[in-house]
Subunit: 349 residues, 2 copies
């Protein structure tokens, strides 16, 4: 159990993301300003670049520190070659700060594959967890839904989905404050026999721990936005498609609405009056508000911001990292995995 009075230290990859270091630094300044003395941020990257960004923003005295990293990962680089070829990248330095205990979390909006691979290599998996997964939030009709995996594992085994359920449920409990989250298995029909070999076998595993997991059975594509489950587990391929589709709805939906508006002046006036409602809806559907995706199952917290992250998205990603640490999410998951270990081992054989 971590000392709750300890200052939370978070390593922020200042070089990550398409928007450039200035945007990341601006997000970090906003986060530090809001969280006060409780949090300390280590800005990792090319020090002169970060200093320049800091000097331009002229923040008041805030708990911000610069840690130099002399290499930088580009968005298009392959994860494998980054891990082998750039041991001094800002991502690698962030991970080593967490690994050595000088930070409790890392936040990066850089190349997702490189962040995941570096974190796995440097931090390692949590004991008992076979495959760490990326958990992301999708807005539903009346709240939020934790979807995992959204991209760390393009191919999965049933036991992986089972562990995703354990981790996702704990995320919903501790970070979304849902006392007894409902967990669903993403499938293409409600009956246990539906789906592919993976979901058929995963259903059996999840069903065997139905009560412990809050498992409600299969959920379908329509149930994601419908909010039937608080946690939806799936392989990383399907989850990534679902997440990116969900992320595109705000922009494509407003394109469709604008298209319809062209026909009627009255409707255009209506749209003008509806602006506050549209703003509210856009905020609800805006993935930047949800603080990036959390890599679950590693030792140490890793938050992956969206590549196109704005300063606000970076601020929210730092917030998610701080809440994960404050909520002791890692320890909570580890405890449940220990408890479930027997069941899982039996199921696997």
């Amino acid at each position: 159990m971590r000392d709750p009075d300890r200052r939370i230290r978070i390593a922020v990859d200042a070089m990550g993301g398409d928007a450039g270091p200035e945007v990341v630094v601006r997000g970090a300044i906003a986060a530090a300003g809001e969280m006060g003395d409780e949090v300390e941020l280590l800005l990792v990257g090319d020090a002169p670049t970060i200093w320049q960004a800091l000097s331009r923003e002229r923040p008041p005295a805030l708990p911000l520190y610069v840690v130099h990293a002399r290499e930088q990962v580009e968005m298009g680089e392959k994860a494998g070659s980054v891990v082998r070829g750039k041991p001094n990248s800002s991502i690698a330095v962030c991970a080593s700060l967490v690994q050595s205990g000088r930070a409790e979390a890392l936040v990066s909006a850089g190349n997702t594959g490189a962040v995941v691979a570096t974190s796995l290599l440097s931090l390692g998996r949590m004991r008992g967890i076979k495959r760490p997964a990326i958990a992301s939030l999708v807005p539903t009709a009346d709240g939020l839904c934790v979807v995992l995996d959204v991209g760390a594992n393009a191919e999965c085994k049933p036991i992986h989905l089972y562990q995703f359920a354990v981790m996702g449920r704990m995320y919903a409990k501790l970070l979304l404050n849902i006392p007894n989250p409902r967990v669903g298995l993403l499938n293409i029909g409600e009956e246990p026999s539906k789906g592919n070999a993976l979901t058929q076998a995963a259903y059996q595993l999840l069903d065997a721990s139905r009560e412990d997991l809050g498992f409600i059975g299969n959920v379908e594509g329509r149930d994601i936005f419908g909010g039937k489950a608080h946690v939806v587990v799936c392989d990383g391929f399907t989850g990534n498609v679902v997440l990116k589709m969900a992320e595109s709805i705000a922009s494509e939906g407003s394109r469709m609405i604008r298209h319809e508006l062209r026909r009627s002046l009255l409707a255009q006036i209506g749209a003008y009056l509806m602006r506050p409602a549209f703003r509210g809806l856009k905020k609800r559907l805006n993935y930047e508000e949800y603080g990036g995706a959390l890599l679950l199952g590693t030792r140490g917290v890793c938050v992956i911001g969206h590549g196109r992250s704005s300063a606000r998205a970076i601020r929210m990603a730092i917030d998610v990292a701080a809440r994960s640490i404050r909520g002791n999410l890692e320890e909570a998951i580890w405890r449940v995995v220990e408890c479930h270990a027997n069941g899982a081992a039996a199921a696997e054989s």
Copy 2:
């Protein structure tokens, strides 16, 4: 080549769907009324029930005929046991009408699994096609996108995705009148190396026939609504999740908007003025307008209506069947498959 002057005969499963025979009959009457003498509809199911529905609707003299089937498939039944245990179901009678040449197409809004299994068994696969696929339309920001497979094959091999591309492209050409449809492979990144084993191998196959197929490479979840491709190919598991998610957007989106409206009276007035635009949007997003899914790759046309189909949806499904026959879609696919046969055989080995 079919004689274009021949009357199009379509077998309609009157017992299929949650809404009951009255609704199917109403949809068939509307379709027959609109299409005139060109089309003849065979209403298949329990004859007394269909007669009763017809007598209630009192249609004018229309080319509608009743074909008795003494068994009925329930929505929850397993495909396998339907095929074995109910040889006289309305679905089976529809399929046998097509198989024996007394009809050119079948339309059913019944149990999808049973419709697919019965059609495969009774009609058989088109020569050269390894796996028939269900193709469905998803509305995009500026048109429609053919997505396949959306559920016939929960597990696929690369060669299946390749053939889906061939069939989907022909669908877009002949039924959507797109001269040179862009075909995308649904994946979790743009680079060829991204994805799981299936998509990595399928990319290579598709890329080898890039020009013939109009292949534009990988597309991601966000590109579906974005309209990047006219045809999106994927395994039936992913496609089913995508389709059901897309189908839920109209209802969940309007729930979200209503939620936002509660806060502001002005916005409510705006929403009132915007009604025509919302109606237009709802129509655009309404899957019932798209006439159901087409099973591609079987001998004879098979259209699968949505289980919750309204009379309008049935009408549109009959329309899709008629257009497939008129456009000679089956023959067109068969010709391309013959042409591609060498390439595909080489790729498969």
